[in-house]
Symmetry: D2
Amino acid sequence: MNILVLQGSSRDHGNTEELTNLALVGIPHTSIRLREKHIRPILDQRHEPGGFVDVEDEYDAVIEAVLAHDFLLFATPIYWYGMSGHMKNFVDRWSQSLRDKRYAFKEALGQKQAYVIATGGDQPHIKGLPLILQFQYIFEFVGMPFAGYIIGEGNKPGDILQDQRALSAAKLLNERLKAPLA
Amino acid sequence: MNILVLQGSSRDHGNTEELTNLALVGIPHTSIRLREKHIRPILDQRHEPGGFVDVEDEYDAVIEAVLAHDFLLFATPIYWYGMSGHMKNFVDRWSQSLRDKRYAFKEALGQKQAYVIATGGDQPHIKGLPLILQFQYIFEFVGMPFAGYIIGEGNKPGDILQDQRALSAAKLLNERLKAPLA
Amino acid sequence: MNILVLQGSSRDHGNTEELTNLALVGIPHTSIRLREKHIRPILDQRHEPGGFVDVEDEYDAVIEAVLAHDFLLFATPIYWYGMSGHMKNFVDRWSQSLRDKRYAFKEALGQKQAYVIATGGDQPHIKGLPLILQFQYIFEFVGMPFAGYIIGEGNKPGDILQDQRALSAAKLLNERLKAPLA
Amino acid sequence: MNILVLQGSSRDHGNTEELTNLALVGIPHTSIRLREKHIRPILDQRHEPGGFVDVEDEYDAVIEAVLAHDFLLFATPIYWYGMSGHMKNFVDRWSQSLRDKRYAFKEALGQKQAYVIATGGDQPHIKGLPLILQFQYIFEFVGMPFAGYIIGEGNKPGDILQDQRALSAAKLLNERLKAPLA
């Protein structure tokens, strides 16, 4: 099983990144920081006669990484009670990939597993739940099993190390991801 | 009462725009299409010693329009069970405005009212509910009363005209917004 | 199409009952006030060797009414942000009916439609949404299409008559239910 | 800190009870099985001239136990994506206690902490989230801090012992509850 982290954070060394790293200690994986990729917001052309026009940016390269991995870890800070705009822009573009004849995008996602790590500072275990429900609907739409999620609490860098519950969940995820390698 | 539409749609003449227009027939208002504004995703510098660095884009101009109006209508298609990336990028940047000494951003929002119009194609009356809860948390955080919302169902342009429930709610909103003008 | 109201309110002439009556003006229907039926809470015997033991109460009579109708209208006040205990006790017992050899309970429900009317006094359009999501999961589990819902706001008897939005939705439901009779 | 478990399960030795016991190993506490108490569903008399009429059942005795403890652990199986009818009937009656002149019910609850343990068999980590949001609204209404929750997965008795995530969370709760005793 090969693992791709889609990192939605907008800064280096934030709590989301730190929690993700703890979950993946000792496990080979690829990580893409979405903020470092040039990804344009969707231009909805689903109902245009010619369909979607090709966009010149780095979106397709990220999608090719998605297609090349089995386990997709969506790591995002909880910004304003949702995924970051970086990640939302990326996901919005899936509407384009669904219609892209080069890929059987939906079928491919259906063979993968999705996991979510989300951290936030304002009661994330309550106010992050609509985001988890949103991810569930997203994954359900593309037929990708939702393998689980971890919500972490933190605001300032390093806060996450005080969230015993999140650390313990990250450790269990680490063991689970290592198991198939054994 | 002056009204600002923050239009999150990524295309012209979509269902969200059409429903919004119906709600505002005969009512003076300003509308900003977020897709036509150059707004960069947030770069989280809340915990940097120097705080946020100024960003050269059109975000501040939109915020100044926000501050100049009393009734903010957040109009967004439901993309992947959330607000559009265009709108999310815009809202994410509020973290910067909260710390911008030129504005008393939170206090100002607390004097306004927020309303949401959201349309989607995949069971929006169910799968759009996490988005409504997210907006509630957003507005609660800044102390801005959530005056109501309309969820509309539609996929292809024009579909919204079949959603009697949404049309009727738009008509009631229209009457309510006209009332103070009388 | 014949219609059964499962009325979850605990008092006469409350807002839920009033809104339900408005939705059904001029439409023949059966209404069961769950509070007037003797329905015991579930005793979970799913994992007992002998399964569920018959219960001597009026639950089966209500289920037979359910099975005899096509359109089930679940009408409940929002008590403590959920359906009333009267209604919850009733729904909990479905676990027993699912295993009752006299009925093909799930298959039968899959042929019906479900509708929800819920009224409450504390921001029901926001704080009633988890209840709508719960109903969605319930109906999905038994394969019964969720035909729609109306949330009304009211506290004291008669308040509902001020909720233009709910009244307008009730009127649309009334037209929709009358249509097949034409 | 003294601890009261309000046990909403309808059977002995179910997963909810087992997970609760694991969380409380070695910690003195009182446990009330709501199914063993005679508690009538609410009769809503909030708007009757004479208010609520006294009810002859065991509800008041449970409320007196509630008032005598500091940490309230609401333990419920997830039945039909909500708390059990036993627990819902009990909570519905709080409307009566809020108006009971013998108690300053709301003020008293505001001094306590609430915790939720909920277990279910059908994707409880997703489909149990509306229940968590409901508990949040309940506790917020009475001003009682929501100290946390554990969702466990299990269907048949004993299943919960396979849910490493829930077991680990129960262990952390155990340590947290023991800490003030040290």
